[in-house]
């Protein structure tokens, strides 16, 4: 859902928060925490406050990141992508540099924290994450008609009387809250948002956000819960679901793309 919103602001179907360096930012934060506090310090961090602080930091950082990316140069997609990718590399190499300073045990902890996991979710955090996501989703659905106009791009939305800059910022704020809540809960899921947004657009074939957003939320839920159930109950596997979700979803996405259902 965050990806749908993000693509609306960016007026582009390929961009996702994760391509724009968001996941790398999260990994950098985890690495910095481990480096700063050591394994024991990291493990001892109380889950609730850690989650809240992570979300706040991610929201602040991503607002700055996305804001600068889309604020002025918003019309120039190539430059925007390039800047995002470069930011991503910057964060990744910073994290890599910090990781070099760590000992192998600490590094293993970082590794674990940097992969998405839906089974290791801390139950205590669920209500918080659900609350945040709820706020984000309710906000997005309330804004749905205005998001439709925003998606037309600045050159058309401004003459139609939309306060484009304010709306774009508001949407980015929602994106930041949604992405941060889920990333802080399960870790970075990368490609998943692109798949869900692609599927939502491809399956509904409707440009209205009042339809798109709930569809995206539902698709994401079905993919995750269905995949997890299939995995644990039927196959009895313990592998990382996110890997498979991305693989299967990626194939489906490619298929849709090749069939020309997503544009």
């Amino acid at each position: 859902m965050a990806t749908v919103l993000f693509q609306t602001v960016a007026a582009n179907r390929i961009l996702t928060p994760s391509i724009m360096g968001f996941d790398a930012l999260y990994v950098l934060m985890q690495t910095a925490l481990v480096a700063g506090l050591g394994i024991t310090g990291f493990a001892l961090l109380p889950a609730g406050p850690k989650f809240l602080i992570e979300v706040t930091a991610l929201v602040a950082a991503s607002l700055m990141l996305f804001g600068t990316l889309l604020g002025r140069g918003g019309q120039d997609i190539v430059r925007t992508i390039l800047t995002g990718v470069i930011f991503g590399i910057l964060f990744r190499s910073l994290a890599g540099f910090l990781a070099r300073l760590l000992d192998p045990n600490e590094y293993a902890v970082v590794q674990q924290a940097s992969f998405a996991s839906f089974s290791r979710v801390n139950a205590e955090l669920l209500p918080w994450a659900a609350g945040l996501a709820g706020i984000g989703i309710a906000g997005a659905i309330r804004l749905a008609p205005r998001l439709d106009v925003l998606a037309l791009g600045r050159r058309i939305s401004v003459p139609l009387g939309l306060a484009h800059e304010r709306m774009a910022l508001l949407t980015l704020g929602l994106v930041a809250v949604l992405v941060s809540a889920s990333t802080a809960l399960v870790g970075p899921v990368g490609f998943f948002g692109l798949i869900v947004a692609g599927l939502a657009h491809g399956l509904t074939r409707d440009p209205r956000h009042a339809v798109l957003l709930p569809a995206a939320a539902m698709i994401a839920g079905v993919l995750l819960v269905g995949g997890q159930t299939l995995f644990e109950r039927l196959l009895g596997l313990q592998s990382t679901l996110s890997v498979v979700v991305e693989f299967a979803g990626g194939m489906f996405f490619l298929w849709l793309l090749l069939k020309g259902r997503i544009r």
Partner: protein
């Protein structure tokens, strides 16, 4: 009336518009002409609040474009840009439907639906209503965008090269429709055109730009003279007369 006072625009060191001042009359069709890069689109985009105004003042019916709420302007002035690239993948009738946005803010009523149907009909788009924009020819697409600005039903229409991609029949039909909007409904139209004969035949007022300055303005018969045209475009051309209006022989 649209008042443009001492408007200058710079990008980096380059001066795009240099102290442009004019008044675009109400209840008339004004044509903006000039060579590529003269600053026509820049001027139009400044009036349309699509570019930040750096210097000078622009007011539409007395409303300062930098201070008036965007929606209030959207109810008075519809704008069609030169570049109509669009973010979402829309059907024709959905695009035209967005023209009603300033009126309903997301809650269309039957009157809005009727206005959309009328706009589709006016541009021969009814059979194409359910088609996606990226499945249309260039001219059909252009007509869909013009129909959207019509659906907005504003007193002012600002159109940047609306004749782009249109064949002769559709181009003339569009000019005739704009003309009747001005004559019969008292609307005001400002459009950028490259084919000066459309300006000669239909416009009431012409503003000619070159290198970011206004080099001539007035009724077609005064602006479209061999001397002024040569000054604007840097080439010799003969001007004859047809039905009491100038006819520029620029193609031979």
């Amino acid at each position: 009336m649209i008042e443009i006072e001492a408007v200058s625009h710079r990008i980096g060191q380059v001066t795009i518009l240099d102290h442009v001042g004019t008044r675009l009359p109400r209840g008339a069709m004004t044509a903006l002409i000039g060579p590529n890069g003269a600053g026509k689109s820049t001027l139009l985009n400044l009036v349309a609040r699509l570019l930040p105004l750096q210097e000078g003042r622009i007011a539409v019916e007395g409303l300062d474009v930098t201070r008036t709420p965007s929606r209030a302007l959207a109810l008075r002035m519809a704008v069609l840009g030169q570049d109509t690239a669009i973010g979402s993948r829309l059907r024709v009738r959905e695009l035209v439907g967005f023209g009603r946005w300033p009126h309903h803010q997301g809650r269309p009523d039957p009157a809005d639906a009727a206005a959309v149907l009328a706009a589709l009909d006016a541009f021969g788009l009814t059979p194409l209503g359910a088609r996606f924009l990226d499945e249309l020819s260039g001219g059909q697409r252009q007509r869909a965008f013009v129909a959207m600005t019509f659906a907005q039903a504003t007193d002012w229409l600002l159109l940047d090269e609306p004749l782009n991609n249109l064949d002769m029949a559709h181009a003339r039909a569009l000019m005739a429709r704009l003309h009747s909007l001005v004559r019969e409904e008292g609307k005001s139209v400002v459009l950028v055109v490259h084919e000066v004969n459309y300006a000669a035949a239909w416009a009431d007022h012409i503003v000619a730009l070159r290198d970011g300055r206004i080099v001539a303005e007035g009724p077609p018969a005064e602006v479209l003279t061999p001397a002024i045209l040569c000054d604007i475009y840097g080439m010799e051309m003969a001007v004859t007369e047809h039905a009491g209006r100038p006819l520029v022989l620029h193609h031979i």
